[in-house]
């Protein structure tokens, strides 16, 4: 078990280093740089451009830039954002927290809605309700977060029930700041959660369907255990395994989804920051965002791997 966890930890570390390095090198290898992007439009003189490059260290070869960045990064100094003129190490966490809040809310929502529905659908034969839930899932699965957020923004803007963009109101509303953030959270979180809940429902019902067929379930029923006890205790335990496994994979989906949603609903998260950084060729910020994203990924896969190992000890072999 310990060896397994150490192996997964090493993989997580590799993931973070590889992703942030790759994004720095990719962003740095692009023709044009931050100086030509920001000053070039103003028709700046050549020497001003050179000056700016020297100040940001963009005049050095890419390999040297990368070496300097790594040398600083091991001391937890991730460089200055050229765009915001602030240390990347300060800028990222506040945005990352926003994305984490959004993603975790969506994940919780999707789990709370999707799993029970999946259990209900998977443990029954036919019937109106399972068919309706199943149809709803198929429809929602065809609406990735890009579409659900557009649709929800449309509904919210039409009805005026909920705020459609940003994270906080300009003027503090009655009920305090927390309630205000919560109100702003509804549309983006639901946009990510709806398709995810549908996916969980489908996976869970599939897993349930397979477990319910097992002889030991039949045996439990034969011994006179009540239906709800068999479904919600005996069968559910075995049927949770695929979901536990899929949680690690879902993080990628979650981050991808939150990117579209953040852009559409102007949620100040990591995805929007990365988009800004890419558009401005702010290489250090790009690397920082990618690094943070990979930390999310690494933590989540680690968490799901360990959880899976507890549910199903076979994986550590």
């Amino acid at each position: 078990m310990t060896r397994y966890i150490i192996r997964r930890l090493a993989f997580a570390l590799f993931l973070v280093v590889a992703v942030s390095s790759a994004s720095l090198l990719l962003a740095g290898a692009v023709p044009g740089d931050f100086a030509s992007g920001t000053l070039g439009l103003e028709g700046a003189r050549r020497d001003r451009l050179e000056q700016a490059r020297e100040r940001y260290g963009l005049d050095k070869p890419l390999a040297v830039q990368y070496r300097d960045w790594v040398a600083h990064a091991v001391r937890l100094d991730f460089g200055n954002s050229l765009l915001y003129d602030r240390p990347v190490g300060d800028l990222i966490p506040e945005r990352a927290v926003n994305t984490a809040v959004l993603a975790l809310t969506a994940l919780t929502l999707a789990t709370v809605v999707g799993l029970p529905l999946g259990i209900v659908v998977g443990s029954r034969h036919g019937g109106l309700m399972p068919s309706a839930i199943r149809a709803g899932s198929v429809v929602l699965l065809s609406m990735p977060p890009l579409l659900t957020s557009l649709f929800l923004v449309f509904v919210a803007a039409r009805t005026g029930w909920l705020p459609i963009s940003g994270m906080r109101s300009a003027v503090a509303p009655p009920g305090g700041a927390a309630l205000d953030v919560l109100r702003h959270l509804v549309v983006p979180a639901a946009a990510i959660a709806l398709p995810l809940a549908a996916m969980f429902e489908r996976l869970q019902s599939q897993a349930m369907r397979e477990v319910v067929r097992q002889p030991y379930v039949l045996a439990a029923v034969a011994r006179g255990a009540s239906r709800s006890r068999v479904v919600w205790r005996d069968a559910l335990k075995a049927a949770l395994r695929p979901i536990a496994a899929v949680y690690g994979l879902v993080v990628g989906t979650l981050l991808s989804g939150s990117f579209a949603v953040e852009v559409i609903t102007a949620w100040p998260g990591l995805g929007r920051l990365m988009l800004e950084a890419l558009s401005a060729r702010d290489v250090y910020l790009v690397a920082g965002c990618a690094g943070m994203g990979s930390i999310f990924l690494a933590v989540a896969t680690l968490f799901s791997d360990v959880a899976l190992a507890f549910v199903d000890p076979r994986v550590t072999e």
Binding site: L15, L26, L141, P144, R213, V251, G252, S304, L308, D312
Partner: protein
Amino acid sequence: MSTDTTGLKGPRHIAGLKGAGRAEQAPPLRTAGPGPIKGAGRFSSRSIGVVIVAVWALAAVAAPVVAPHAVDDRFPGLLNSPPTVPHVSFVQRPYIYRWMLVNQLEQRYEIDRGRPVPLRWFSGGTLVQSSDEARAPLLLFGTDSYGRDVFSRLLYGARMSLSLALVSAVGAMLVGMAAGGLAGYVGGALDEALMRTSDFVMVLPAMYVALALRAVLPLVLAPRVVFALLAGIFALVASAARVLVRHVLPAAGGFVATELAMLIPAFIVAEATLSYVGLGFPDPIASWGTMLHDASTNIRVFADFPWLLSPAAAIFLVVLGLNLAIEDAGGYERTLG
């Protein structure tokens, strides 16, 4: 219900769990086609899906004939005008009413009920047009903020979005099949390495990968954007590899179609997202993503002029069609891109 457990679902995606998710009684290989769907009556949801996809494919192919207007035809007096609804009656030809601008600032229009404008079949080189194109054009889905016909752009956009998605998906399949076939044939360390790589790629958020790869290309270089999109999307390839290695070779057939039907939605959505955020196709090209992008300068625009959301509806329909077509074949894991 199908008993298939060997496919994309469940814990077999996780490294080190090969085979653990297989239920004891399930047959070892994917069966060729999904079983009948319960309670579906005469029309299975599968055939509905196939019809939806076929209609869109036809619309894309026939766009120049069906679309009443060209991609960049503008009607300067009809910015953001609502759809003109064709009225059908038994005594005369179908007709529409003209929109009259009543409020320039709010772009509010009112119907000119006084004078119906009949429609003309097979005129101006297209299937149907209004008989008075200059003053009362046929605008089935209204116009966008440049005064362009949304319906026509939607059809031309289908060509762009669907062909891009198809080409990318086929490309991804070919690379995945090559890599997977190689891994399966050589086996040993190479197999292990390729499987680890695809495990790794599968957890990456596709959108971020596409963004990062997109960033390698200059922001304004127009035609290469297509290739940038393709390149970004090829990152998804390795995920296909691990599946193909174990399934295409033994039981090809239906699996390839299923895999395609699962990849295409991912690419449609990736194109739409990239174009939406302004990193996709450049302006004059109509794709579903750029149409949403053009409308999205202020998100409230969608509430005032709902017909601008029709590309989103189109994406939904195509993805739904594909999902229905492969229902019960295990095709719901990666539709979220």
